[in-house]
């Protein structure tokens, strides 16, 4: 297991409507679950907490999360991830799914 946390600069979340939290994915082999919650401070940072069963890939994680925080206005959210060996593309996909559910309401 490896556990780390980091906040990434990101433009503040645009909408105030929608749900207070959203979840995407499940903790299964090669998969992960992403929980995105509103109301985190400061409002210009995406606060990330990762727990993964595969140690040694912290650099890839930070790169994927930084990339997402750069491309999406996700400031003021807290992102918590439980991972069981998901590949980086899946991490990005789940982040986008959770973000979509949070801002658009669809589950």
């Amino acid at each position: 297991m490896e556990k780390f946390a980091k906040a990434f600069p990101s433009k503040p979340l645009k909408t105030t409507a929608g749900k207070p939290w959203a979840l995407a994915g499940v903790v299964g082999s090669g998969n992960l679950e992403v929980l995105v919650e509103r109301g985190s401070r400061p409002s210009d940072a995406m606060d990330c907490h990762v727990e993964t069963s595969i140690p040694g890939y912290k650099a890839s994680w930070l790169a994927a999360l930084a990339d997402f925080a750069h491309h999406y206005p996700a400031g003021g959210t807290k992102v918590t991830i439980n991972d069981q060996g998901a590949p980086p593309v899946l991490v990005t996909l789940r982040l986008r799914q959770a973000y979509d559910h949070l801002t658009k309401g669809e589950k």
């Binding site: 297991m1 207070p20 939290w21 979840l23 499940v26 903790v27 299964g28 998969n31 679950e33 929980l35 919650e37 727990e51 993964t52 069963s53 918590t80 439980n82 991972d83 069981q84 589950k107």
Partner: protein
């Protein structure tokens, strides 16, 4: 999500959303509460925010229900201490409030990483189910995926008033691989999918009377079947237990020596085995006489 998607392909939360009245589901102990397994964390195994089960209150056809759905992809939907405590609490609330409880099952039984805690949790849930039944509060299990209901959850599902199954669903105690490991490949070939489904699948369980409804693999069909059973419940009495015991003894006498599941189908009134194998849900039910 549209109503036409296959129920067994959906996630636990999608299944609940597809089954109950639109936007009526209120989740209890949702993911932000972070009620995760302390045992898995100690063993260095990733935890899940809901510990593999989604519980809450909703409405079905305007009627209030308690509902739970297990997450099969997370350690096989297996029951740990938190997972089991959530189920126990839900059935206890159902008994207290006299509100029917629906459990969408997808579980191999007790989570081996927290064996004793899981066993106790399942026993406590069963006690809560019997509390419901004593008060004539309907309890309904839905078994609709190939992970099915096995081990302690297989037993728990038969404690409920009714079981709604699809042809994908499986119900048993020891899983096929476990039986093969103990009895040998000659006795039971777990790789023979036709054999596995013909012994523990929804169709056979329906024929034998272990499942009360056999429906298509869609939320609409499952909702209809559940809605029909919501008003009914049967208390367990000494007479009902003795009657059931007699039925099971009769079944053992009738089929105990049979190695061929087709013989069981034939004896239960299925004339066209090949046709019945391809038929699904109600079409299959129409092809059999079905007895106890």
């Amino acid at each position: 999500m549209t109503g036409t998607s296959l129920f067994h392909e959906q996630t636990a939360r999608q299944r609940i959303a597809a089954l109950v009245d639109p936007r009526s589901f209120a989740e209890m102990l949702p993911p932000p509460e972070r009620l995760t397994s302390p045992y898995l964390a100690q063993l260095g195994i990733p935890v899940s925010f809901d510990d593999g089960v989604v519980i809450g209150k909703a409405k079905l056809g305007g009627k209030e229900i308690y509902i739970a759905a297990q997450v099969g992809q997370f350690v096989g939907g297996a029951v740990g201490e938190i997972h089991g405590a959530k189920l126990t609490g839900l059935f206890k609330a159902a008994a207290r409030d006299q509100v029917p409880c629906v459990l969408i099952i997808e579980s191999g039984g007790v989570r081996l990483h927290e064996g004793s805690a899981g066993e106790i949790a399942i026993a406590e849930t069963m006690r809560a189910i019997f509390e419901c039944r004593a008060k004539k509060v309907p309890t309904i299990a839905v078994i609709a995926t190939d992970i099915g209901a096995y081990g302690g959850i297989g037993i728990l599902s038969t404690c409920c008033d009714f079981r709604v199954m699809t042809e994908h669903g499986r119900l048993g105690i020891s899983g096929p691989i476990v039986i093969e490991k103990w009895m040998g490949k000659k006795a039971y070939d777990s790789a023979n999918r036709a054999l596995v489904w013909k012994t523990s699948g929804g169709k056979t369980k329906y024929l034998l009377g272990d499942a009360d409804a056999l429906v298509h693999d869609s939320a609409d069909a499952i909702r209809d079947a559940v809605a029909k059973l919501l008003g009914k419940s049967s208390a367990i009495t000494l007479t009902s237990v003795k009657t059931r015991q007699k039925e099971l003894e009769k079944r053992l006498k009738r089929f105990g020596d049979t190695a061929d599941p087709d013989a069981v189908w034939k004896a239960m009134g299925v004339r066209d085995i090949a046709g019945a194998s391809l038929a699904s849900g109600p079409e299959f039910a129409a092809m059999a006489k079905r007895g106890k």
